[in-house]
């Protein structure tokens, strides 16, 4: 997130997210054979999705919102892996790559236009100044919010359908997370592109659409964000439409043979799809409406808002539970065990030898009387040993 925007786009769209998902997808048979581990993966994934989505609700840095949305989407991918929807997870990696790269580069374009400003509270109304960025960004938001027929809809739907077949509780939480996604993305969209401009005058004069070096990639990615999902159209819409599934089938052949994917009735599938889209749409429209009228300082924070703004205090908890204790342990090792105990023992041996020598020195007092006394005592001892023992 703190990296340069193109780097963020790269790691969020491709390198960072793919590694973990790919790893599990590749070793899918191991997970299929271990249902408990798979459940852990699903629960961890879902928790990640929800926690990160709630954090994203309250962030004001445009890139931070996107960064937490990546974490949240990553949670969905893990949910997919955990419920055995390996194809769905890989599918979501792909569609996510399109729209997340688009969103990050779009954010970069905005930040560029705002002369380095990343705080959304100082933006607003940019759609008239940046038409291309605005339109492509809107498409990206629709895709990530899971609106049909954009790419994110197909991949997310596949994961949620598999979650439903696995355990309906997973699906309920997943759908809530999807609605949160729609909400925070359109909060971001509305705060940035609609309403009044809230930045300084200097920034207002600086506003401009980005050059074609920036807009052309945005357009290409926007096209992909729209059509990218059409390689995985579910069976109920187009017969044989899941080209990606067929393409990946050999990779997951062993797992599919071990646990065949559950088949949902078509009517049920349509209903769960409809509920998820409807909830997301409501969240989307609500956020759009609410944040179009955003004014600086109009939000009052309550306790939960603070908690979310501070990211559930995860950093602080890590600091207190891991970093500080480890540091203190290291200090303890350094100051007490190393310096006092081990080195103290080593130096103690040296001191003991010195002390012993000093005491022994008194034997060599230089007084003839003492020597004679010692000699007599020695001879007596020898006599006693010789005669009596």
């Amino acid at each position: 997130m703190a990296g340069p925007t193109p780097v963020s786009a790269l790691i969020h769209a491709a390198t960072m997210v793919t590694a973990g998902i790919y790893m599990i997808a590749r070793s899918n048979i191991l997970y299929t054979m271990a249902p408990v581990t798979q459940s852990v993966v699903a629960i961890v994934g879902l928790t990640t999705a929800i926690l990160a989505a709630t954090i994203a609700l309250k962030q004001n840095d445009i890139k931070k919102v996107l960064a937490y949305s990546t974490v949240s989407q990553l949670g969905y991918m893990f949910l997919g892996l955990g419920v055995g929807a390996y194809t769905g997870a890989v599918f979501h990696v792909m569609t996510h790559a399109f729209f997340k790269a688009l969103l990050f580069l779009g954010a970069g374009s905005v930040i560029h236009a705002m002369a380095g400003e990343q705080d959304m509270r100082n933006m607003g109304g940019l759609k008239k100044n940046m038409p291309v960025t605005h339109l492509t960004f809107l498409l990206g938001c629709l895709a990530i919010a899971g609106m049909p027929p954009f790419s994110g809809f197909f991949s997310k739907d596949e994961i949620l359908a598999a979650a439903f077949a696995n355990n309906s509780l997973l699906w309920i939480v997943g759908v809530i997370g999807a609605a949160l996604t729609a909400f925070y993305m359109f909060r971001l969209y509305a705060m940035t592109f609609t309403g009044k401009f809230r930045g300084s005058d200097a920034q207002a004069n600086h506003l401009h659409e980005s050059p074609s070096a920036i807009t052309i990639p945005l357009i290409i990615l926007a096209i992909l964000a729209v059509v990218g999902g059409w390689v995985g159209i579910p069976e109920i819409f187009v017969h044989g439409g899941h080209r990606l599934g067929n393409f990946l089938a050999p990779v997951f052949a062993q797992s599919l043979a071990h646990t065949p994917p559950p088949q949902l009735e078509h009517s049920k599938e349509l209903i769960i799809m409809g509920i998820s889209v409807l909830l997301s749409l409501i969240a989307l429209l609500y956020a759009w409406k609410k944040f179009s009228k955003y004014n600086k300082g109009s939000e009052k924070e309550n306790a939960i808002g603070n908690l979310l703004q501070n990211k559930w205090y995860v950093d602080e908890i890590y600091d207190a539970v891991i970093v500080k204790p480890l540091h203190n342990l290291a200090v303890f090792f350094n100051n007490v065990i190393e310096k006092n105990i081990i080195d103290g023992f080593v130096n103690g041996v040296g001191k003991a030898v010195n002390y012993g020598s000093r005491q022994m020195r008194w034997l060599q007092s230089g007084q003839v009387g003492a020597y004679v006394l010692l000699m007599v005592l020695g001879m007596l001892t020898l006599f006693i040993i010789q005669l009596f023992l």
Binding site: L326, H327, A330, F333, E338, D343, V346
Partner: protein
């Protein structure tokens, strides 16, 4: 036998005679040039030895003179896979050290370089001795020059630090000497070519076949182990090391940490395990727990060191702990990994010291908290250090990755939990290394670092060479594995 000058003789006599010659030179420039030439000659010989490994060249690689025949002792030196690797490390280490510190000024340079070469002779001797008395002789010969180097050219607190170092290692050595004598008294007869027959023998092969009961082995093990453990050092025998590394002149520290600690590991491989196999099996768990506890302990200490030199010292203790544990895991993978890593660790740590020396020479400080923003002033230095530091934490593509991977795999095969515990120190290594880089290289410069200059041509050459070695060994370590394979399988046969 002995008709021609053989490789081991050259490796021994060149530094010995070259070092003695140094003492008679007057000018600083000529001493430096002379010792560099000698070191390069030794390197050339050592490189040549790598090409004459075949059995048919045995006469070039072994030499055996009758020496103290009534004691059953002979001047028997030879090269096998492990010796070749470590003599090569010694041979490549010294020219790198001399080159990197070429500009450093020493009072009385003739003695300084003379002693350096003498310690090289001692090190070479340790690695090529095939006779126990000879081994002990060289073991001490390597120590004594270092004692004088530290106590005469070291930092402010050099006298107590050196004293501690000397007492520690000397106590260890004497315990080993007692052990050697005891084993010697239990060896068989030895007959020499001229008909002399001695009651006992110091030859390595006789030591391997000495008739020692299991009870004898149990206490002998600790006598030998004491010497090697202090040298490595293994927790809790390590407290001499950070002080000594900190106080010794940097080029001596490089010798100590890059090459001399390998004496301990080599001793375990050649003189401890094969002679006392029963005790080794019995005490494996104790040694492993000590080594692994030491790894984690030293890594923790490295986290809180402000002194760069002590940080590297503790990091080295952690790495050596892993190597020691891997030796005692006693499977082919782990021991082969140790062979690789002995070489890699030597190269990497010399690189780290070179960088620290450059920083200290230019700014006069070695404390992390006082240094900032060096990357702006010395980009080449920074790039080199980052590569070496990443090798130090065993990232893929670097040499240490191969070695550590093999050692961990071997350790894992031996006992899963030991391996898991040992891996903790890898994480800690990443933390302290990256933290150190972040603190001293990034940010703005401060008053100490704003006048820094980037490294000189010599230093670029040396660090460049180290970096090249890091990558070669990281990408294609097979030649080294081939070189030491026979030594490893011989060890494991016991």
């Amino acid at each position: 036998m002995g008709t021609y000058i053989t490789f081991p003789e050259l490796l021994l006599w060149l530094p010995l005679l070259g070092g003695i010659a140094c003492f008679f030179m007057k000018e600083e420039r000529s001493v430096k040039a002379w010792s560099l030439v000698i070191a390069l000659l030794i390197l050339a010989v050592s490189v040549a030895t790598l090409f004459y490994t075949d059995g048919k060249y045995a006469t070039y690689n072994n030499v055996n003179y009758i020496w103290l025949k009534y004691l059953g002792n002979s001047f028997y030196i030879g090269l096998d896979g492990a010796s070749r690797l470590l003599t090569f490390l010694t041979a490549i280490g010294f020219p790198l050290i001399f080159l990197a510190t070429y500009k450093n000024k020493y009072k009385n340079p003739a003695s300084f370089y003379g002693l350096m070469l003498l310690s090289q002779a001692g090190l070479m001797g340790v690695f090529i001795s095939m006779d126990a008395l000879l081994f002990y002789f060289f073991w001490e010969l390597a120590l004594i020059p270092v004692y004088f180097l530290c106590s005469s050219w070291g930092g402010e607190r050099r006298i107590p630090a050196t004293f501690k170092f000397f007492v520690y290692t000397f106590v260890g050595s004497l315990l080993m000497l007692v052990g050697i004598i005891y084993v010697y008294l239990h060896t068989g007869q030895r007959s020499f070519e001229d008909g002399t027959i001695s009651a006992h023998s110091f030859a390595l092969s006789s030591f391997y076949n000495a008739s020692l009961s299991a009870a004898d082995q149990n206490w002998l093990f600790w006598l030998f182990f004491a010497a090697f453990a202090v040298k490595m050092p293994v927790f809790p025998f390590h407290t001499w090391q950070p002080d000594t590394y900190d106080q010794a002149p940097t080029s001596v520290t490089m010798v100590l940490s890059g090459i001399m600690v390998k004496m301990g590991l080599f001793g375990v491989i050649r003189w401890l395990i094969p002679i006392l196999p029963l005790a080794t099996i019995k005490f494996t768990h104790i040694v492993m727990i000590l080594s692994i506890a030491g790894m984690i302990y030293a890594s923790f200490l490295a986290l809180v060191q402000d002194n760069l030199k002590k940080l590297v010292a503790y990091s080295s203790i952690a790495h050596i702990g892993l190597m020691c544990a891997a030796i005692f895991a006693m499977n082919e993978l782990s021991v082969q990994g140790v062979m690789l890593q002995m070489f890699n660790h030597g190269i990497n740590i010399i690189g780290l010291w070179i960088v620290i020396d450059m920083i200290e020479q230019q700014t006069g400080v070695k404390h992390i908290s006082k240094l900032r923003g060096i990357a702006i002033k010395a980009p080449i230095l920074t790039i080199m250090l980052v590569i070496i530091a990443l090798a130090n934490i065993a990232l893929p593509l670097t040499n240490a990755f191969v070695g550590e991977f093999m050692m961990f795999a071997g350790l894992f095969a031996y006992n899963t939990w030991y391996a898991v515990a040992a891996i903790i120190s890898i994480i800690l290594a990443a933390i302290y290394t990256l933290n150190m880089i972040r603190k001293i290289f990034y940010g703005d410069t401060n008053s100490l670092t704003e006048n820094m200059k980037d490294i000189s041509f010599n230093q670029q050459l040396v660090l460049g060479l180290i970096v090249v070695l890091i990558f070669i060994m990281g990408v294609y370590p097979q030649p080294v594995i081939d070189l030491t394979k026979s030594a490893v399988t011989n060890l494991l046969k016991i």
